[in-house]
Symmetry: C2
Subunit: 238 residues, 2 copies
Amino acid sequence: MANWFSRKPRRIEVPRLRSRNEDVATTKVDLHEFTPEIMTFLGRAAYVQLTQFENLSRAISSAPSTAAKTAIGRAAELSLSKHRMLVDEITRAGGTPADVMEPSTADVDRFERATHGADWFETLVTCYLTAGFLDDFFARLAIGLPAEPARHIATIYAGESGEAVLAGLLEEAIEANPRLASRLAMWGRRLVGDTMLVARASLQYSENHKSDEARIEPVFTELIAAHTRRMDALGLTA
Amino acid sequence: MANWFSRKPRRIEVPRLRSRNEDVATTKVDLHEFTPEIMTFLGRAAYVQLTQFENLSRAISSAPSTAAKTAIGRAAELSLSKHRMLVDEITRAGGTPADVMEPSTADVDRFERATHGADWFETLVTCYLTAGFLDDFFARLAIGLPAEPARHIATIYAGESGEAVLAGLLEEAIEANPRLASRLAMWGRRLVGDTMLVARASLQYSENHKSDEARIEPVFTELIAAHTRRMDALGLTA
């Protein structure tokens, strides 16, 4: 059984802040050219995190066992703590959290409905895959914020996550019922589209769409590769 | 508007551990004579706390505004953190959390269904009133545990709670719609019965039921008085 309560920090691939002498060839691609102004960034990141928590809380309510409930509880606590820290950043930057989140609610709620899942297993896959993708995305987008908030946000996303808990539960479920694998693999592939949409809608584009696309593409290639690795970890080969 | 994010510790009325020279007349009544063995206590306390979190997460999903969602999020985070600390105590005492919680699931789930509430306002009243009552109850029952776990549990229940957050949201809702008050007052009174039932079922009785009742009664009188004060604080006079 996976050690669900391990306190090990998450091995998230957060790109470091760029320094002028850095060897660009070895730097992970980030999205600093597309970072919106700070309130827009924070409102969106905080509301997406709240949605991730709501998915987790649905997974708790519909969990088939007390063991699963309490294990997902840890993931939900970590997600709520991230949400609160992002909300604290909004306050620190002089904003009113609900007002700053409001512009994101319509399309993030739409994303939430689209990725709901038909049952507990699909909901859990949603929690596991979209949180991994979006936390990674917002960490890369935060690089373009002013130095101090950028550092705070990097710390928030580098913190412990519930990923291992969710992967452990899904592994168990698939082991107990191997026929789940193909359905969950299909669901995992379907999630990529909606997750990319909500991520892309968080970018601040320039006037030159064509050159934007050329620079955005490699980042999404990496994000999708990480998504595929998360699926591979469960044996859900894409 | 209430300061929902205040970090002030909760003013919970936790009775101190009894010392032999203590002036009994001034001591708050506790339930140390009725404390079950530690695993039974912890399993029940942890599962009740998980149920409180589930109520809070329903209140988040059905909240009418982003401001309410994020405010309740703080209460949910605190509740999950209490649940996790109780689960950690189970592990520390050598138990497997899910197994230790299992005997409590049937009647606590029944309690949860009975106190569900018909809409967001009633759910929120449930969160506010039953968490106040049950945290207070388990804090008093923990006094009868061996000294070290008793101290840990006292610290857990003395920690920050979401009570002020929930009271603030309810005050606002009643102010905006005064006709809510009589319905919520009725709901608050109805909750006492089910909450007392689930609390009483957590006690370890002796053979002498009559003498048990005489010693339990004053504690429940205090718990109900605190419940009434919580209702009074919202203007929901019982």
